[in-house]
């Protein structure tokens, strides 16, 4: 298949399936809380709807950054799809994408001039420390397999079995990272309810549509990376089932746990990272 066509198809799949998974996440949360909840397609409908809604640009915004950061946010995750499902390239670039994601959160929050956005921007810097689990996972995967290339990792697992069996604590660490990116999760300090919707608060209409499009792609990518890195060659059906199972688990956790305050959120994630890293190193040595 032509590379550009391959990229477009993968982005469309990531958006459509990611939206449905986020819809499923909301549905699970609602059912756990004894509410009927919105239909599963609601997130997809919302994403598309926002492109046709009225858009206004607040006078307090720094326009180039306010508009540009949303396009950059989208470009960052388009890069993720290219490096992941399309090229099956390096995990290091995926790690870089998560790092840039934090910078985007920071700049999106500071660009609108809203106090909610500014506070979210400060928290984005604070919560960057919580990306430690991802860095630890990469280091441990490299120690175990000797590679950070996604296609080499798939080949490794087809011979030696899935890494989720040999490195379960590293998988838990990655699941903590996935949880920290899920909507309404306990670590969600940049979009906590006390900040309305955090750095997204003053992004309306088309800008919000593009953010929702990117959120869907980002969610799909997170689950794809986890399944490929820890479960290996599981095929298309395995990927779909795996993504649905993880989304349901995340929805359940998000529904039954309160949002932590910023200090507790970062400390909890770092504590999980330290315990799981030490445990995995011990397992590797033994």
């Amino acid at each position: 298949m032509n590379l550009m066509l391959n990229i477009i198809v993968n982005i469309l799949v990531a958006f459509l399936f990611g939206s449905l998974l986020l819809g499923l996440h909301r549905k699970v949360m609602a059912r756990v809380q004894l509410r009927p909840g919105p239909p599963i397609v609601q997130d997809l409908i919302h994403s598309i709807k926002f492109f046709f809604k009225e858009t206004s640009f607040p006078k307090t915004a720094t326009y180039p950054l306010y508009i540009g950061i949303v396009v950059i946010f989208s470009a960052v995750w388009v890069t993720g799809v290219i490096e992941g499902p399309v090229l099956k390239g390096s995990l290091l670039i995926i790690f870089g994408i998560y790092a840039v994601h934090k910078i985007v959160e920071h700049n999106a929050g500071s660009s609108s001039g809203s106090p909610y956005g500014k506070l979210s921007c400060v928290r984005a810097v604070f919560s960057a420390a919580a990306e430690l689990p991802l860095f630890a996972v990469l280091a441990l995967v490299f120690l175990k397999t000797g590679t950070l290339n996604i296609s080499s990792l798939i080949s490794y697992q087809s011979i030696h079995g899935p890494l989720i069996v040999s490195m379960p604590l590293a998988a838990i660490m990655f699941l903590t990272l996935i949880l920290s990116k899920a909507p309404y999760n306990p670590f969600c300090i940049t979009k906590a309810k006390d900040l309305v919707t955090g750095f997204e608060t003053e992004h309306f209409g088309v800008l919000r549509g593009l953010i929702m499009f990117t959120d869907s792609v980002a969610w799909y990518m997170l689950l794809w990376v986890f399944l490929v890195v820890f479960c290996g060659p599981i095929g298309l059906l395995g990927l779909i089932i795996g993504m649905i199972i993880i989304t349901v688990i995340m929805g359940f956790i998000s529904a039954v746990t309160p949002m932590l305050n910023p200090n507790h959120s970062v400390m909890t994630q770092i504590s999980i990272a330290i315990v799981c890293t030490l445990g995995t190193v011990l397992m590797l040595i033994i």
């Binding site: 032509n2 590379l3 550009m4 066509l5 990229i7 477009i8 982005i11 926002f50 492109f51 046709f52 809604k53 009225e54 858009t55 206004s56 640009f57 607040p58 006078k59 307090t60 949303v70 396009v71 950059i72 989208s74 470009a75 388009v78 890069t79 290219i82 001039g113 809203s114 106090p115 003053e202 209409g205 088309v206 800008l207 549509g209 593009l210 499009f213």
Partner: protein, 69 residues
């Protein structure tokens, strides 16, 4: 036609051209064009299709919800 919509059409045409060119270029150039042009194309689609506020509501939309902060 307002400035935003004209800008939307310009970005839309430019990004669409970039995507089409990307079908026939080398791997690295295709990736670069995809990263730049696909988000811009989606963004321009929104700029072209977004609803506009009524004339007497424009000021209110731009100033809200910041009044008082």
């Amino acid at each position: 036609m307002d400035k935003v919509r004209i800008l939307g059409y310009i970005i839309c045409v430019a990004s669409l051209l970039g995507i089409i060119i990307g079908f026939f270029t080398s791997e690295y150039l295709t990736i670069a064009l995809a990263i730049i042009c696909i988000p811009l194309f989606i963004f321009s689609f929104g700029l072209i299709n977004m609803a506009k506020p009524k004339k007497d509501e424009v000021k209110e939309r731009v100033e809200e919800p910041f009044t008082g902060y």
